[in-house]
């Protein structure tokens, strides 16, 4: 099936790319969503099986694949709205949809790969597709954003490759040459620690470009700022999850070696610095879209802190990653409506949103509650568990510092959001406002409600899948 899926998606990408007819483009996109869901349902029925040697439907892969398929539907709807509101030429529209489908496919298949090199290849394909999306508007700033994204991702992907080379050197000591995760888990005790250490450093640094963690976080910020918001939603949610998968699968290998503690320290430092950077920028930033992007850095910092703390933190990290994907994509989808009204990204020029778009303002308010992890947001549960894991790991000082940083983030975030919602904007002429249908916000409500439901009342199967994803980790 995965072969059919890949071939189908590839044909759709080609079809979208060469075709300039609007109706055929939209039907191809609809056909892809159908294919994506067929594949997702198929994968649920073939849980724990392996296909084409390099892809297996394991619990982590399935969880994230379902998340991706859920986010893909609103992404398609909002892309349609976006393109209809920006009547560009047919060529850019075709490239946009082709790149969107390519990104979704590569990300989904990247989750399922059980071989480090295959994960690497699909991560590289996502860079290719994402750069086409970021360059959508063909402006000077879009070009700058694309250039920075491409260059940093190219360097990062090279780092991951160097890491894989060192990993192979480490594996030769175990007398094996199979770089599949299964074999790595089986041989983890025999891996050479020196090369493994180097390999982890390189692979971790490489994947931080996708995950949005210090040191390589900058590329993602520019990318999410310049890409059209529906594409930005994917970059800020499902693509970040691909970075998480890359790091997490390899982390499981290293966690079963004596380097476990050392790896935790490395991850912990990067995660804490990410939180710090996110705080500094969120206090300073006046560009709304970039503020949302920095909020992503904050959440990924928390996720990785959970991983570094261990225990219940592993469970919380995966829960957080999934819920964050729902919440953050909803925020980015909603952003487009704000831009359509104000034609500006600066917080100074946006205001009184309740007056101009009540439904959208409610989404923004709910999104604020969700992203800042206040109850009843689902993220509250996962963040609480992450704090608990830090407490249980005797990292009280880190916990206090994290709580302080989070307070500042909530203050900065809240200040800006409430300004947008209630305070009148500077120099804004409201005589000629575009009509925005409240129905356009329905997908955001569903995504936000989904995050609340999964956080507060998770179905037993969902909990079971998360538990199975962290089964191989030492507790």
């Amino acid at each position: 099936m995965i072969l059919i899926y890949l071939i189908g998606a590839f044909l759709i990408v080609i079809g979208l790319f060469v075709n300039r007819n609007k109706i055929i483009n939209y039907s191809l996109l609809g056909f892809f969503i159908l294919l994506q869901w067929t594949f997702t349902i198929y994968s649920l029925y073939h849980f724990r099986t392996t296909e084409l040697d390099y892809f297996s439907f394991d619990s982590l892969g399935i969880l994230l694949l379902v998340t991706l398929s859920i986010v893909a539907i609103p992404a398609a709807i909002h892309s349609f709205i976006y393109i209809e509101n920006h009547p560009d030429n047919p060529e850019t529209r075709s490239i946009y949809f082709a790149a969107l489908v390519g990104l979704l496919t590569a990300t989904g298949v990247g989750y399922l790969s059980n071989h480090i090199a295959v994960t690497w290849i699909f991560t590289e394909i996502t860079t290719l597709c994402a750069s086409a999306l970021i360059y959508h508007h063909r402006t000077k700033l879009a070009l700058e954003g694309t250039w920075k994204y491409v260059f940093i991702c190219a360097i990062s992907i090279t780092f991951v490759f160097i890491g894989i080379l060192f990993l192979s050197l480490s594996l030769t000591h175990a007398g094996s040459d199979d770089l599949s995760f299964k074999n790595l888990y089986a041989n983890s005790a025999k891996l050479n620690p020196f090369w493994l250490r180097l390999s982890f450093l390189f692979i971790f640094t490489g994947f931080t470009a996708k995950l949005g963690l210090v040191p390589m976080f900058t590329a993602g910020i520019d990318a999410k700022d310049k890409a059209p918001a529906p594409a930005g939603a994917l970059l800020a949610s499902v693509l970040m999850n691909l970075g998480f998968v890359g790091i997490f699968r390899f982390y499981i290998v290293i966690a079963n070696t004596p380097l476990h503690h050392w790896a935790n320290v490395v991850i912990g430092i990067a995660a804490f610095l990410s939180l710090f950077v996110a705080t500094v920028y969120m206090i300073k930033v006046k560009n709304l879209k970039r503020m949302f992007a920095y909020s992503g850095i904050e959440h990924m910092g928390l996720v990785m802190l959970g991983v570094a703390a261990g225990g219940i933190g592993y469970y919380a990290a995966i829960l957080h990653v999934i819920l964050h994907a729902f919440v953050k994509s909803a925020v980015f989808f909603q952003y487009n409506q704000i831009y359509r009204i104000y034609q500006n990204k600066s917080i100074y020029h946006i205001g009184n949103y309740f007056k101009y778009n009540t439904t959208g303002a409610i989404v923004i308010l709910l999104a604020f509650i969700s992203t800042s992890a206040m109850p009843p947001s689902g993220l509250f549960v996962s963040e609480f568990l992450i704090f608990r894991s830090l407490f249980e790991a005797n990292q009280v000082l880190v916990l206090i510092a994290v709580l302080l940083l989070l307070t500042m983030i909530i203050w900065a975030f809240g200040k800006n959001i409430f300004k947008i919602l209630f305070i009148p904007p500077v120099d804004f002429d409201d005589s000629n406002l575009p009509k925005i249908s409240p129905w356009e916000s329905s997908t955001q409500f569903i995504l936000l409600a989904g995050a609340v439901y999964l956080g507060l009342n998770p179905p037993a199967e969902f909990v079971q899948l998360i538990k199975e994803s962290i089964m191989l980790l030492p507790h």
Binding site: T127, Y135, L143, F161, L169, N192, N287
Partner: protein
């Protein structure tokens, strides 16, 4: 014999440090491609003939012909001036690269591993760091691309060092090469000249938090 080629490869880095003109950089990158061709030919013995032929073709056609020709075309098309415009004087660059090579030699000697070919390791690491140094110390975007190509060559040498047992890794290295080069060069370096009048990194500072 392999070692001779690798040492010439290392010397090419020193030459690049003191080179002033863009065309010289392109020539050095082409030369590195040719050197890699010979190294592949002599080093990879345990892989299938078809695979070997593919890798050889990639090094000679892609690394030493296509990419340098394309870079030259970009220079002409975007009317980029010939000077490389480094931030630091050439003499300082030469010293820094010497330091890099010495440090990597010391580093590789501290590693006790029978599976590791020391010369490959030294050349690969020095090339990697030199590439990073070029990116950090040159002003033009196109020189950054060249720095990146140098890094790729370094990674390729590293993959050759382990590639005898795992040919898959060499193939992956080539994939990285083609992928990233297509990405960086093909898609839009072409267009950078149209949008930006001067292709300096100083121009790329508009995207920031205000």
């Amino acid at each position: 014999m392999i070692h001779v080629f690798l040492i010439i490869f290392l010397i090419s880095l020193f030459y690049m440090a003191i080179a002033n003109r863009m065309l010289t950089y392109i020539r050095v990158i082409a030369l590195q491609g040719v050197l890699l061709f010979f190294v592949v030919f002599l080093q990879l013995k345990e892989i299938s003939t078809l695979n070997l032929v593919l890798i050889l073709l990639e090094t000679i056609i892609f690394k030493s012909l296509a990419v340098p020709m394309f870079l030259r075309y970009i220079l002409k098309r975007n009317k980029i001036t010939r000077e490389a415009e480094p931030f630091l004087p050439n003499f300082v660059s030469l010293i820094i690269i010497t330091v890099i090579v010495v440090v990597t030699i010391l580093l590789s000697h501290s590693i006790k591993d029978v599976n590791l070919d020391k010369i490959f390791f030294v050349v690969a690491l020095s090339t990697l760091f030199t590439g990073l140094y070029f990116i950090a110390s040159r002003r033009k975007i196109i020189t950054h691309v060249m720095g990146y190509l140098v890094i790729e060559n370094g990674v390729f040498v590293l993959s050759l060092a382990v590639g005898n047992e795992m040919p898959m890794l060499v193939n992956l290295g080539i994939m990285l090469d083609i992928f990233a080069s297509v990405l960086i060069l093909g898609i839009f370096l072409n267009k950078i000249g149209d949008v930006f009048k001067e292709v300096d990194v100083d121009q790329l500072t508009n995207l920031k938090d205000y």
